[in-house]
């Protein structure tokens, strides 16, 4: 068995060689990125930690020296870098300076589920709506409504996002009072709660994931069925069973009150993210569909006498899905960076806010950890997108030329 594997990944397949080469490049790239981030953060003029300590009149100079020594700031920069790198790669992310002495890994573990929750729901809606809209837009080329939808879509795509978010808060939270203005929970609800907010969010996330996967997989499987009636039946059945199961799960769940609180706070940020993000997906899908529709196999499908909806959904759209899925992978990779503004505006205490606060307060251990986290996500995202392209589209051959 092992011999087979070695063969498949070294000599035999160009894909295996490509994967290994890319992986090595990724490791090197990450090291460079890590070092550059460290240098950039160190080079910020003014040492905020030292300034803060010196501004405290109750601290004697020895205490300041001691406090700096505890953070390793009395050592020469190169030694600091070496110590930090060693600790980082052995899994010790250090302690936060601004929230001393909380460990950085604990801060990230606390923030990450919130960001994942918010953006997984938002991305789900963005891609579902965006893909459908793009499909119809391409199909209705040069018909009434195309220009209106395109212009509306582009306006949403290039909208000045912080402003748009504020406007939505103004309208739906301040004026109409339908949803809370900011935050992710109401503290009063959670006083004496038997469970942490993050725990509830994790349950919410996985229940949502299970339902989406169930509906998605069943619908996909149903498209293999030959009879249109049976296909429709299975599809509707999947939705009913999936949504019914979801409802049943939460109706009987003891944490329902808490989940509701989180869900209410999710509504506005998710809607705004969906409105802003779906247009991008729509435009990618449209371009990709237009290119696909020129292909011979679409003409062939038409010539076979298939219905327009059939040609669109089963022949053109499926091939056009390729760039869309790639962009989804890349969107996942840039979630934290993109989350900075969203989380600041809606007061959602996630990774983006952590990154922003750490950079502004020069909390270097937290900032470096957050930078590394985004860097690793981006690297893996690009890598996954490349591989995905090769696997999904057999016409694209991976060559060993970088």
């Amino acid at each position: 068995m092992s011999g087979y594997h070695a063969n498949a990944f070294t000599k035999g397949s160009p894909l295996g060689r490509y994967v290994i080469k890319r992986f090595v490049q990724m490791v090197v790239l990450f090291l460079v990125f890590f070092a550059l981030s460290w240098i950039a953060l160190q080079a910020i003029p003014g040492n905020s930690i030292e300034q803060q300590l010196r501004l405290n009149p109750n601290l004697p100079p020895e205490a300041i020296t001691q406090a700096l020594a505890r953070r390793g700031l009395d050592k020469p920069p190169l030694e600091q870098f070496w110590l930090y790198t060693k600790a980082f790669f052995t899994g010790d992310l250090g302690v936060s300076w601004s929230r001393y002495p909380q460990p950085v890994s604990k801060l990230i573990a606390e923030r990450l589920p919130r960001t994942v929750m918010l953006f997984s729901v938002a991305l789900l809606f963005q891609y579902l709506i965006g893909f459908q809209a793009g499909k119809y837009l391409a199909w209705r080329r040069n018909k009434r409504g195309e220009i209106a939808i395109t212009i509306a879509g582009v306006s949403l795509f290039t909208v000045f996002y912080p402003w748009f978010g504020l406007m939505m808060i103004l309208l739906f939270a301040v004026k109409l009072g339908w949803v809370p203005t900011n935050g992710f929970i109401v503290e009063a609800t959670w006083r004496g709660a038997p469970v942490s907010a993050n725990h509830v969010m994790v349950i919410m996330f996985f229940s949502l994931l299970a339902v989406t996967a169930f509906i998605g997989l069943t619908s996909w499987a149903s498209s293999r069925l030959d009879q249109p009636n049976r296909r429709r039946l299975v599809k509707i059945g999947a939705w009913v069973v999936g949504l019914g199961g979801f409802w049943l799960f939460w109706a009987t769940n003891q944490y329902l009150v808490y989940a509701k609180d989180v869900a209410v706070h999710l509504v506005l940020p998710v809607s705004v993210l969906t409105m802003v993000g779906f247009a991008g997906v729509m435009l990618i899908t449209r371009t990709s569909m237009l290119e696909t529709m020129k292909e011979d196999f679409v003409t062939t499908a038409r010539a076979k006498g298939l219905s327009e909806a059939m040609v669109r959904d089963r022949h053109a759209a499926r091939t056009a899905l390729l760039p869309v899925s790639t962009s989804l992978v890349l969107a996942v990779a840039t979630v934290i960076d993109g989350g900075i503004i969203t989380e600041s505006i809606f007061g959602w205490p996630g990774m983006g806010q952590l990154l922003l606060a750490s950079v502004v307060s020069e909390d270097i251990p937290v900032a470096l950890a957050a930078f590394s986290f985004t860097g690793i996500l981006a690297l893996l995202g690009h890598f996954a997108a490349d591989i995905l392209y090769g696997v999904l589209d057999p016409r694209i051959r991976v060559t060993s030329q970088g």
């Binding site: 402003w163 900075i340 503004i341």
Partner: protein, 366 residues
Amino acid sequence: MDTKQVPESLQRIEVQIPDRPLWRIRAGLLWESFKSNWKLFKRNRVGLVGLVVIILFAILGLAQPILFATGVWDAKIYDVRTGNDTRVRIAEMTVVANVDEVIDPTSQIDRRRLIAEGENVQVGDVIQRELKHPWPPDRHHLLGTDPNGSDILSQLMYGARAAFGLGLLAAFVTVFIATTVGSVAAYFGGWVDSFFMRFADLLLMLPILAVLIVASSFGRFKLWHLAIFLGLLGGFGGTAIVLKSQALSVKVKPFIDAARVAGGNNWRIVTAHLIPNVMPLSFLYVMFSVTGAISSEAVLSFLGLLNIQMSWGLMINKTQSAGYLLNPATWWLIVPAGLAVTLLAGAFYLAGRGMDEIINPRLRNR
């Protein structure tokens, strides 16, 4: 004496050599291709909408200095930062119980303050009072004034110039670098290619907003600093990758081989054959880069990280710091600025899409 025996067709060819200088022929060809491209662009109405919006904003930006120079606007009143309208504007105001009940500061006033000033009024009274800035739109200030008394329309016009300056500078830096890097990487391949592409990956890994915040802490950023910085990030980053793939598809065309066979050196082939054929796509990316640069500037000045006179993002930032942000009653402080960023960024994007259909024939109508 033999000339009479030369066949007639050959003589005709000699006559047809044009006597115009070469540059005029080239200009003529350019004009022809511009005309045919314009026809294609016009057919795509989406691009035309974008172009119209861009021109409107350009007129808006250019009109401000003209208004100042011709004396229609007095700099004392209409300057974007120091301007202040000191005229007295009287408004009818309803008295409410306390500060918290003042929803619309232009038509409501709190009773406690009036009593402290020695006026005896009851809740619900309507009194005549001098209106403090921000003023709602009127004849003199078409979009009202900000809390300091400066004219919003004037700020909007200045912001248009700032956005054009920043957007175009950033876009040209981006595309100049990206075209050069992409062509060189595609032509030479090997380690040159690997180096530039991995460098592009490195830049794409960066959390852009966080990096800009770090960069702005090295000293207050001026507008052109930001433009160059954004240009470098985009030029060595994502745009370089796109333009390299375009250059790769040009590199395998027969005319490149022909140029090499004819004895052209690398420099000549890259500058005279490769880059001109990547240029159409480069122009397209100028458009998309402008969109990105305008949005980035707006976000940064919204966060108050730039050292600039006035911009659309800064207008919202100032509204926020004056405490008028989430108040629907003072809409003119936040709506025009946000709408302007959205419209201009969107217009460049739409114009880019219009150009896309010229450059990419696969998108054209059947």
